[in-house]
Amino acid sequence: MSYVKTSLMLFCFLGGVSITRYALSAELSSDALKTLAVKQCSQCHTFGQGEGPGFGPNLFGIIGKKAGSAQGFKYSPGFLAVMSGKTWDPKLLDRWLTDTQALVPGTGMTYFQDDPATRKKLIQFFKLLQ
């Protein structure tokens, strides 16, 4: 499958979700959430279903998924030691996005987002991503 096609599919997929399943307020439209998530995450992560990992694991369906379970991604021993057995829910994601290194010292991901509103929007995007 081509990259162009996949990008298009991702676009359609996200667009479709916003219209059919979720009534979002204007300030949190799915397009705005997607734009934010792409800006914040796409340097390292992929979003499309079945897409391989980038520098980080694929994020499709992350809410409700066991931490450390994304296909084809090699997690660090430090990450697995702390996160194995945990499930990604909005609360855990919020802690993670606040400061990955505080939750798992030494993990490969260095990200700290001290704006709660941005974290909330990202988590809202992840809720759509399934």
Partner: protein, 579 residues
């Protein structure tokens, strides 16, 4: 020096009006300089004030910030992206440090004159003269290269001593031209983050983690989502701060009492700058997406001297990932596999596939003057099941990737005919980007002949056409290959006479560019009279490299960066505090 009229500031003085103006302005049109009168500067609503304002959070930015902070300065790091690390995060973070402490401890000698001859020969091959007092380099190039020799090791030691970047020595990492007699220390100059994996490919992630952890530990402030678009000058032309566009489209101004240090990236992801300064048809590259040449645009108003704009740190890339702007794409540092060849659109080998990436990439840009085309604009990597099974890797940009990895760039077929058909279809998809390149009608038969000829070389371990595997740097990035007893050349093995076969399209790219405003050896950005612009510094890929088109060795991007970060921070520290 071109200055913005002062009434522009006054017209924007009301906050509401200012924000409105900022929202409607495009980012590009806002780049430049803002000159404030003393009264304006005194009354302006700077949102924050620090001794040193650092722009960028990759290696150049973070190390400039740390060295500045360790002098006791208050420091903020402004990052345009949402997360830290820039291109550095994606790199393996080898750093090339001449005459470093562990090499000295191991008895590896690295005399300065020979070091300078080595870099001179590669940087200015047309002028190189071992008997010339500067070996053919200009005074500026010579001084900059000498500064690298003098300061990279003290910088590396301080970073390690402070726990910001503990390292391990990589004694086997050979220079890319170790066979030159000038290269007395043929290996031993490479350091890499201590906690990196055995392959060292994750060095950038480790370095960004340890550098940023130390920075936060030591009280350096971070602001992400801040795109610096203007340098603020006082009436004397001294830099006193910056103006940044935040990712919510608001504008902030931050005062720098002593200095602004740019450690931002090059212009890999600005197609206009790329096509107007680089003389090669690159398909983007693996630099962070935010590397759009912002300092080039900002400094146009400052009367700087742009230097080395025609060169980049070159690296082949998987064409399809580059075109798709895959954020995780790495340059193809390692052309993996032994039963593997690159062929051109005719199906013929044209290059030593294991040549180091900066040099290999230049084959893709070769110009056919008679046909007025780049005949090798896209090369095709071909491998068999053996290389797929034993050489697949997620590291160093390998085109051969393991199961579960992103393999959409991989073409697979049971036969060479089928493979050719599929390659043709892929090329057709990108026709408008590759000069409408098509496979020759006799591609498959030529490919078959190329494989037979290559297999003959592989059987005896000697590539009579391109001498693959004969230089130490060929072997350095060979990657994993199936063990074969008594093999003399680990880069060669016959390609199977039966399928399946695999292929990937290879194009030219950059790790990042290496041109920008000229600085002196202290990282001070110079005006057109070679005088430092007070309070304004640049380090790394946003400013001019003195390496010309050369890639001296693995880590010769980052090693010089820490040397100049160290020197810039030392100089910025003794700047007077400006009002």
């Amino acid at each position: 020096m071109s200055k913005k009229p002062s009434n522009e500031f006054q017209s924007m003085a009301s906050r509401r009006g200012f924000l409105k103006a900022a929202t409607v302005a495009t980012a590009a049109s806002s780049f430049g300089v803002l000159t404030m009168s003393d009264a304006q500067a005194a009354s302006a609503s700077f949102s924050a004030e620090y001794d040193i304002v650092v722009v960028g959070s990759g290696c150049a930015g973070l190390t400039s910030a740390l060295f500045s902070r360790w002098h006791g300065n208050s420091v903020v790091v402004l990052e345009k992206a949402a997360a830290l690390g820039g291109t550095t995060f994606k790199s393996a973070f080898w750093y090339w440090v001449p005459n470093n402490v562990p090499m000295r401890a191991a008895g590896i000698e690295d005399p300065k004159p020979d070091f300078l001859k080595y870099v001179a020969r590669l940087t200015r091959p047309q002028f190189y003269d071992p008997d010339h007092p500067r070996f053919g380099l200009t005074q500026w190039e010579y001084d900059m290269c000498e500064a690298i020799y003098d300061s990279a090791s003290p910088a590396a030691e301080l970073l390690a001593h402070k726990g910001a970047l503990p390292y391990r020595h990589v004694p086997f990492a050979t220079d890319y031209f170790a066979e030159f007699p000038e290269d007395k220390a043929k290996s031993g100059r490479v350091l890499t983050p201590k906690e990196g994996s055995p392959s060292m490919a994750d060095g950038g992630q480790v370095a960004i983690r340890t550098l940023s952890s130390a920075a936060r530990r030591d009280g350096i402030a971070f602001k992400t989502g801040h795109r610096v678009q203007r340098i603020i000058l006082n009436p004397k032309g001294e830099a006193i701060g910056i103006e940044a566009l935040k990712d919510d489209d608001s504008v902030v101004r931050i005062r720098a009492r002593k200095a602004v240090i740019f450690g931002s990236g090059g212009f890999t992801h600005d197609p206009e700058l790329r096509s107007n300064f680089l003389n090669v048809p690159v398909y983007g590259g693996c630099a962070a997406f935010d590397n759009e040449g912002d300092l080039i645009r900002i400094s146009s108003s400052l009367g700087v001297q742009l230097r080395n704009m025609n060169h980049a740190w070159l690296c082949p890339v998987t064409l399809e990932k580059a075109i798709a702007r895959d954020g995780s794409m790495s340059g193809m540092f390692s052309v993996a596999g032994d039963s593997m060849v690159f062929v051109d659109k005719r199906g013929k080998r044209v290059v030593n596939e294991k040549l180091n990436y900066n040099e290999l990439c230049q084959k893709l840009f070769e110009w056919d003057g008679a046909k007025a085309e780049y005949p090798y604009l896209v090369l095709i990597s071909i491998w068999d099941q053996r290389s797929q099974d034993h050489s697949a890797s997620n590291d160093y940009g390998s085109a051969i990737v393991p199961p579960g990895a992103d393999d959409r760039h991989v073409i697979k077929s049971d036969t060479l005919e089928g493979l050719s058909d599929q390659i043709s279809l892929r090329l057709k998809k990108y026709a408008g980007l590759i000069g409408r390149m098509e496979l020759a009608s006799d591609f498959t038969s030529n490919l078959r002949e190329s494989i037979v000829r290559f297999n003959g070389f592989a059987a005896v371990g000697k590539d009579e056409d391109f001498h693959r595997g004969e230089r130490s740097s060929d072997v350095l990035f060979n990657g994993a290959v199936k063990e074969e007893p008594n093999r003399t050349n680990p880069t060669l093995w016959p390609i199977s006479t039966s399928g399946p076969y695999y292929a990937a399209l290879v194009g030219g790219g950059t790790l990042d560019t290496k041109g920008g405003p000229k600085t002196n050896t202290h990282g001070q950005i110079l005006d057109i009279h070679d005088k430092p612009i007070p309070g304004l510094y640049g380090v790394g890929n946003c400013v001019a490299s003195a390496s010309g088109g050369a890639y001296w060795a693995g880590g010769s991007t980052l090693g010089p960066m820490i040397a100049f970060a160290y020197r810039a921070a030392n100089k910025a520290h003794v700047e007077p505090k400006r009002s």
